[in-house]
Assembly symmetry: D2
């Protein structure tokens, strides 16, 4: 019951440390008969991969995925899809200096205390490299979500926010800039901010907003497995995430019922959508939208005090090749996790009625 | 795989509609040998029950819990604990007017579309009455969390916020006022606010902050079942919740790494705690704290447009006895769900090492 | 993760000790929209209940089931079905003599060692009384299995066996005698045998055969959750079961491939059915049939040595009202467990393809 | 919820088709800190591998296992262990003749009907090649079962049975002959039998007995997850298994209670052990023993009628390199599945009491 599986019917189990031989996973429960577009999967991986632009880590990893099973002549067979991404560009010697050192706000200390042993190289299992497997599975899930559209984008970096409602944004612009913000003027400011931060050897947090359109009415399993509860868990399981809100979110907590209620149109749609497309834990057919908060990456290229395993405070200097801001690379991860939840809940909904 | 079970080893499954014969649940996986303080459980239920003060719904339900199994001579036996709370004060006739009507921002529409049938009386399964079963289970969980202390409190109502860090609050004051805010001056303002709102026949949202002290290092199951991811799901599964953040939360997304990192003391504690007691999904021994956003209750005692099952917009007037603000009664629910997560993760952690 | 839940999508969780207030369960995942025949459920309970004939225990328990949720105006709503059977005729004082005594071949010793505490009255949780909850859930499952027919019957008592293949039996005769054997001549011999055994204060084992007709092709989830593996687990979870075989079973282990293979007809049916209706863990549309071995009831009304908790061998005399042969009352339990498996696998199969 | 995962806390998920790129799996929940003997794991694989003797299939596959994660400097880290066995000696052209043909008593027909597509080469997912992954995981499980000893052996081939109780056998002799029968005289007869059968182009069934010693008292999770129920499911999930019995098994169904009961010794052990080491679903510290029935391999090297996908009966001739008797290679598989169950239940038992 260690927690490396996600999903109930469409299930992803992942394995792998950042500096081991490989990472990968098994997707169990992918329906049979889906013709997979493998290039589309690789494209999603490329959106997540290191080295893709000047504002992300300069590590070069091709992140090519190898499929070992579950696909026959390009079509899913209903048997488990085993896949592997070999680790090819690990510079493990970059990490010799942290062998016995717990970096602040990393998982070094907690892993060591919990397990009594850890693969310290590059963060090991706690590295965000693990999310590449999620992107593979999410990209497969997307391929049977048919008309459902999932678009995530960078909605803030530090204190620079998009100041428009998502309805005014053109999602086709998300990939037009390296920060993945569909509002070009804001994107420029964000990129400049990240470049400044990078020069300082520092890092910066941000938020990602995700909008899901064309969701059928009826997805969600009351009472504990409400659709937004599962989306929340999915997002909170991504490295560096500190918060999740959907629909009116934390703003909704300041409102009155008379202004928060979404009045119906005669066709069952609603005039407003403060509910965020989910009522009682079940999708109502309106857009689902939510916002995810990412803290700044903990590895700064500055001198910092750390703790060693002997219980001494030691000075350390961040090395390696790190992201000054995790948000642009996290956009495809947010989409992937959303796709996993929706795929799973689409399947779950099939057994609601006879 | 309908979603009425919570937990992996310490598992709660609930049943019951607000106007059926009874609600209740089964706790499977409660360790054997725990001498239960049944009065303490009833006290938690009383904190949640309707009619407890002038600012909550005036329904009168005793919410007395009956134990059917799993306890022998006051001690848990390791077998499932079946418990029931009989519904005694349902005024089902209050709900005849919504039989064929979908109230705005309720679960009426989505339940009907998903299941094709619903017990419309009092919200049926979607009623927050279901959370009474969670409070029972959470109160049992608390009894074997030994030194772990869980304190939730109302941190905002509408735009009235406590303006102090939680460290400056005296949690023993939480129960000293009916809004469950430990800061007395703020509590008064909040109560006045709710009374005003109630007079308007309106409702208001709010937030609850929860602080968990004395958590051992090592709770949390990477990578999908990170401790905060499960806490987030637990909270988001509570009726009316729109958002969850822990540690620095959404504020953290505006910060720089150099200011966000929690530097170590030599004993493994940290000088600051923006991490919120969890690093890499695993507790680090510092206080865990998080904040939960509740939207305003959807039932307002005002005329509103609704949709009926024939696809017509009809005017309706909220009736029944409803909460103007859900937050004070939700405090014990937040604590209960936190207790369920911690109990489960304490047990899970026992199999981490040989 | 205590083991009181059965099923993946159609899930039954049970609670209850034989001499507690009540036993019961929660069925989660029953599809919405099923009009339930509650009388049919009670009939199944009556087939299992004590006191139904001279060859079973003479305890008198009405075993009336109370539904607390999940059913609205006679129709399932898709929400969890909570149900309770109150314990009404426990003679707990019958069990005072075993308070500190471990009866041979009972669960007294193992429960005590595992949990450190047990409700010793009437076997507590280890009593077969718990299976009444399975019968309720199985009877509900049967109601949406539509054309699938499940017939179990007593195929042997001691060394008295039906010497005909099941195809030569008339299943409508199963309920025509108190041993539930459809072959009347054999039934008579079996009943005489049980009466003799009862007079001796002894007990006797037996087997039940179950035949399932009209199963659609395609039920079963390779590789670990093969249909027969789940049926086997279901049967082995019933009290007193020592063995399970399906199709050719243990006889098949003596055969040659050339004689064991089931050759096809052009319509996909097979000329023989040594496979027992399952190939590769998946139903092939032929009859599924299997045989379940029950040991003799351990409580004999004779003097026997037992062990007490002080580590002394003590003489004890079985008291109470016990079954001389468990098999006739186990017939509806076998059917119920088979129904639970089939219901679950029917739902699981719905997500096999898009 | 496709069925490719086994276990609750010590969980194995497998992937792979016999003629795809690779097979393998992920073990999630292996405790941290176990120094693995990788050679011992390979030895178990070698016991299962094809080509090991004249009486098994003459395919040559090295079955070398590659570890991708979860092990650091030879020690388990508590993170998932990803492992892969590359397929190296597939002769896929051997299977062109079955592309559109359903072989009798194989899984061809049922897979095709269930999934609408299958990798027909070598049986694909339904091939017993998948069990190699189980052997890897089982061999890892064995390494933390400490003093628990698991010994399986061939107890019958066709109608040749060992006629001694297991207590009279010397388990150290199991590996001394190619049929894996510890009784040398019987082993010789069995080997001769298999050789004859092989010459005929036929196959033969058999049984495997498994004896588990030094099991602590208390393993097993009532009521559905009784220890023997899980062992039964584990065994029934192995290819070609038709039956499972433990303790007195089907013989017990012929006995009287007065002769079947296992009387206690003062130390809690029992004078006899017809219970098979399990009472009420929980181990009692006595030897656990059970017997598993394997049908004859369905592929015979003789002409047989088969069905093609056009609905025509066609004559086919088994080709390829097949086992005349599956039992000797299944011995390590039975042990592996037993080890997985015990490892899982050992961990589960850790949360029984506080």
């Amino acid at each position: 019951m260690a927690g490396n599986t996600f999903g109930k019917l469409f299930k992803l189990t992942t394995f792998g440390e950042s500096h081991g031989k490989a990472i990968g996973g098994i997707i169990d429960g992918c329906p049979a008969g889906i013709t997979l577009d493998l290039e589309a999967i690789q494209n999603e991986l490329d959106r997540r991969k290191p080295g893709q632009s000047k504002i992300v880590t300069q590590r070069k990893e091709p992140d090519t995925v190898d499929y070992y099973s579950g696909i026959f002549e390009g079509v899913t067979t209903g048997t488990p899809i085993g896949f592997v991404i070999h680790n090819t560009n690990q510079k493990s010697k970059d990490y010799g200096h942290i062998k016995d050192v717990y970096r602040p706000s990393h998982a070094d200390y907690t892993y060591d205390k919990k397990y009594g042993i850890r693969d310290y190289r590059g963060g090991g299992r706690s590295s965000a490299r693990e999310t590449a497997s999620r992107v593979v599975a999410g990209a497969i899930a997307k391929q049977f979500l048919s008309s459902i559209e999932i678009n995530a984008f960078t909605s803030s970096v530090g204190d620079i926010f998009i100041d428009k409602p998502y309805q005014d944004l053109d999602f086709s612009k998300i990939e037009s800039n390296i920060i993945r913000c569909p509002d070009e003027a804001t994107a420029k400011k964000m990129i400049t901010k990240v470049e400044e931060i990078k020069k300082q050897g520092d890092t910066i947090g941000g938020t990602i907003t995700c909008v899901i359109k064309n969701v059928p009415v009826g997805l969600g399993e009351p009472v504990f497995d409400k659709l937004h509860a599962e989306l929340g868990k999915a997002m909170l399981s991504i490295n560096a995430v500190k918060g999740f809100e959907y629909g009116s979110g934390f703003c909704g907590a300041k409102m009155k019922g008379s202004e928060h209620n979404d009045l119906f149109n005669a066709d069952g749609t609603t005039k407003t959508n403060l509910s965020g497309g989910i009522q009682g834990g079940i999708s109502n057919g309106m857009d689902i939208y939510f916002r995810v908060a990412f803290k700044p990456v903990a590895t700064v290229i500055q001198k910092q005090d750390a703790l060693n395993s002997a219980g001494e405070i030691v000075e350390m200097q961040g090395k390696g090749r790190h992201d000054p801001c995790v948000v642009p690379r996290a956009v495809p991860i947010v989409e992937a996790m959303a796709a996993l939840v929706l795929a799973d809940y689409l399947l779950l909904d099939r057994v609601t009625r006879l």
